[in-house]
Amino acid sequence: MSAPDPVPARTDGHIRDPAEQGHRSAASAVELEDSRFGHGGVTTEPPANGRRRTRRRGAGLLYRLCLGWLALIVFVAITAPWLPLPDPDTIDIAAKLAPPLTAGHLLGSDGLGRDILSRLVFGAQVSLIISLSAVGIGIVVGGTIGMVVGYFRGRLETTVMAGVDVLLAFPGLVLLLALIAFVGQSLTAITLVIGFLSIPIYARVARAATLAVSQREYVLAAGLMGARTRRILFREIMPNVILPVAAFGLIALGVVIVLEGSLAFLGLSVEAPAATWGSMIAEGKRHLSDAIHIALIPSVVMFLTVLSLNLVGDVLRSRFDVREANL
């Protein structure tokens, strides 16, 4: 196997056109965007030639474990009402701070005697609903915008991308907090605001992917054969744009889960007593010295979920690499 080729890594954005101020190269935009809210994404991987092969060999088991964990979370979230669990909001002061493996409370109970396992499962519902819908909004709206401006270019593109740059000039969580405070703390409001704020990021990713394919021969051929614009956009271009955007969306799911957690931690997520992972962690903060499991268990669950999403997203992203498609 030859030595890693120094060239690809260099394209990752440190040579830029100064005239195009603010427009980081699309490749590095994809790269950097996902770390905008704090965590997220994985930065560059070494451009080792054997990367794909080592991935398949080395990360196979881990990859499957992560998929399994995600499947478990989705499964319990969907079947939560039918699972044999105590009610997540029933307060039982007599049984408060029960350690894990107590009879009746498999993972123990919190400061108000509520069952932690049950709250975890119902919290998974909240995380899942918010993250899937917010990412869905981002992909559909942002992806469409990015694809359309990337295909038509011209003044429309300049205007839209300027708007995108301005929205991205705000520190993400700060704007999110400000909007949530005034829009309200319902599940719908939180989902819509996070979805709205993530539109620019998807627009950038989709635009970069569109630019990479819109000049290809088969797109040209479709145009010459008289295909309508809509057909070209949705039948020729979209299949090539949707994969990188979706792989990016997987990692974004993790970012949204952390965001919801941050909101909950600040007491600005879905109103109490509804269980969310973030509010459970925040609740456990008061019991760090006497009952550490209250904060620890939801933390571990959130960590494993985000880790799994990152890993799966990373593996998928290396398969449909946007970065190889230079702007």
């Binding site: 440190h14 056109d17 100064p18 704090g38 929205l167 705000f170 700060v174």
Partner: protein, 321 residues
């Protein structure tokens, strides 16, 4: 060189204007009447509501309000809070040093930890050290800062009892006391950056170590540490610098959470309090200020870049390797 910076400065003006317009619009178009908030949520008479609205200037049209807000803002006056009757600008300035110190300390910590990790794992690429660093940083990426903060509090404050869990000692209490109170929050804030910086530097460093000038330095028999830190680090640090600049936005976001957890008197905490009391003008002022800081930092990074990378300075643009 000067022309280049001048040109960039010119593009800065519309961006800043757009940022201010968006801040104003987003928060002004939201439902809810600030006049009702001022009256403490009680349903006052129609006249008293109208009086408060006139008092606050809410009876004017949206463009008028924006222009007067912007004009006053340019002169350093972002209004007076409806709730606390504090001057917005004054309240922010008073708390800015804490936030800046937190952010700077956090960036320094992240770099101090990430640079050696990145450099050595690139040098030992594929080895056991490299693999554990790569694995550990991948894990750190999935660790939200509020969870990391709780772990730190659990270990250092509750468990070992050597560092305070909450509170802030200003510099006037002595540097050591100040650092003691800032250490845990800054470390908690740096968790994501440690991972991002390490991975980025490692990638760029692996590429640099393949280059001819490094081979030359090696064949001259220079000691490894000198090659790594003197010959390879600088050309590998361009992306790191950009990302460190971009991460300022993340840090600003992070301070809101971290300052709330550790009860620090910074801007993030001010924003949190303002949000909880629905203090529109204060929120508006803080969001505007944080966004402006973010834009300016990115501008400075952009300029620094041209100093560091001669290829851009000479105007040899669009060199796509």
């Amino acid at each position: 060189m000067g022309r280049l910076i001048g040109k960039k400065l010119l593009t800065l003006v519309p961006v800043l204007l757009a940022v201010s317009l968006l801040t104003f619009l987003l928060l002004s178009l939201l439902p809810g009447d600030p006049a009702l908030l001022v009256l403490g949520g009680q349903a006052g008479s129609a006249e008293s509501i109208a009086a408060v609205r006139t008092d606050l200037g809410l009876d004017r049209s949206l463009p008028q309000r924006y222009l007067s807000w912007l004009w006053a803002g340019l002169q350093g006056d972002l209004g007076t809070s409806y709730i606390t009757r504090q001057e917005v600008t004054g309240a922010i300035l008073e708390r800015l040093p804490v936030t800046f110190e937190l952010m700077a300390l956090s960036l320094v910590m992240a770099l101090v930890i990430a640079v050696p990790l990145g450099v050595f794992s690139a040098y030992l690429v594929g080895g056991r050290f490299d693999k554990s660093v790569t694995g550990a940083t991948f894990g750190l990426l999935a660790l939200p800062n509020f969870i990391f903060a709780l772990i730190l509090i659990g270990v250092f404050s509750v468990g070992l009892g050597i560092l305070p869990a909450t509170g802030w000692s200003p510099l006037s209490d002595g540097v050591l006391e100040n650092l003691r109170s800032a250490f845990l929050p800054a470390l908690a804030l740096s968790v994501g950056n440690i991972a991002v910086f390490t991975r980025l530097l490692r990638t760029d460093m692996i590429a640099t170590l393949q280059e001819d000038h490094v081979t030359l330095a090696r064949s001259k028999g220079l000691p490894t540490s000198r090659i790594l830190f003197r010959h390879a680090l600088r050309p590998s640090s361009f992306s790191l610098l950009t990302v460190a600049g971009l991460q300022v936005g993340t840090l600003l976001s992070g301070t809101v959470i971290i300052e709330s957890i550790f009860a620090l008197p910074g801007v993030g905490r001010l924003l949190f309090d303002a949000i909880n009391s629905r203090d529109l003008l204060m929120v508006q002022g803080i969001v505007l200020l944080l966004a402006v800081i973010f834009v300016l930092v990115n501008f400075v990074v952009d300029v620094l870049y041209t100093f560091l990378d001669p290829r851009i300075r000479s105007g040899a643009t669009r060199v796509r390797a």
